[in-house]
Symmetry: C2
Subunit: 191 residues, 2 copies
DNA sequence: CTGGGCATGTAACTCGTTACATGATTAG
DNA sequence: CTAATCATGTAACGAGTTACATGCCCAG
């Protein structure tokens, strides 16, 4: 019975992560967030639900319940098959929801100074993400393995975001565009 | 009664678009998609639902039903207030789901040649998006209005994506990294 | 040996998607 | 003037989020 891959992408990605050994819902949520989390958003509650579904489908087996109802799941053979079938399907286009851009788009409708504040706040967060990706990249060195290549997307993405912030017309504040202190500190990543 | 902005971001954005005059659900869906659609994903069905909600909340008024049950909505004064209140709130962090990156991340689990095929297909789509943003940017010229600034994000984003594709180790095919035919045709956008 | 915080999970709700219905409009 | 297509919307379902429950663990 060729049941047409009932797997949704969220569940499927969990199967992927389970290849590295058994994990509890909590652990899965952690590891997903720490790896591709930024480009593959999911919440803990989803993880738990999908794990239950995966168990019903017979793709994973639940282990002994530990402290605090902690329940580890392990992928099994049919789970591996399902995953490998799923990952071979054409990936859907990316989906982005970027509220800050919406705010920008409707920039006329709020006090300039408030928009600036939002921009500065977001910039700060992206600065540290960029920093993280730079460190990651340094760690990977010239590695061409798939995780390294994926991480590089994060780097390029954050560089683009930063470039955008820097291109905005004098959005006041210390983190503004012509903050030369930053300039040349680190040249753009060479492709 | 200070009803704590029951507005969800989707509904709120519709209010924003209604500032330009009355629109039917269909039209709204169109205009959203054509403007910030790429960074503010939403589906037609959502639009219709949110419009009904907005009407119940008294933020919009439905006009006379036209052909094909076509119903135009107009924002009213309290809608404008609600929008302006909403747009002044700190925007949430961006949310991204990029299935291709997931596939890449688990690249070991599928035949290389298949991954290549996916990459090429996506690259093609992004090439034309990039092209669109370049035209847009040309159109905007040096304009610094909010729409232009928002569009510039699209440009930078697509440039980053393209940079990433080009950085991937010889993912075979005509669209590969060292396809010099493209090189120098257009230099990277200068900030 | 206790109380506050954190690890772990569940339940309820809201949002987003898919599939479908219906009535204009237009090509032939 | 009919069939195909497209504009417009609805309904049902599945995915994502928020709020909450519970019990372990460690600082004092």
């Amino acid at each position: 019975m060729p049941q047409k891959s009932l797997l949704n992408p969220t569940a499927a990605s969990l199967l992927g992560f389970l290849h590295h050994g058994e994990r509890t819902g909590w652990e899965l949520a952690e590891v997903v967030e720490q790896s591709i989390g930024q480009f593959w958003n999911l919440t803990r509650s989803q993880v738990y639900r999908e794990l239950r579904t995966l168990e019903e489908l017979g793709y994973v087996d639940a282990g002994q319940e530990g402290a605090r109802a902690r329940r580890p799941y392990a992928i099994n053979e049919s789970g591996r098959r399902a995953f490998s079938e799923w990952i071979s399907r054409e990936p859907a286009p990316e989906l982005i929801r970027f509220p800050l851009l919406l705010t920008m788009f409707f920039g006329d409708s709020l006090p300039r100074e408030r928009l600036d504040r939002f921009l500065r706040a977001h910039r700060v967060r992206h600065e540290s993400r960029l920093e993280e990706y730079r460190n990651l990249a340094d760690g990977f060195g010239a590695s061409q393995d798939f995780v390294a290549l994926t991480a590089r997307f994060g780097l390029f993405y954050e560089e683009a975001v930063m470039r955008w912030f820097d291109s905005l017309p004098s959005f006041a504040g210390d983190a503004g565009p012509r903050a030369d202190k930053q300039k040349k500190k680190r040249s753009a990543t060479k492709t």
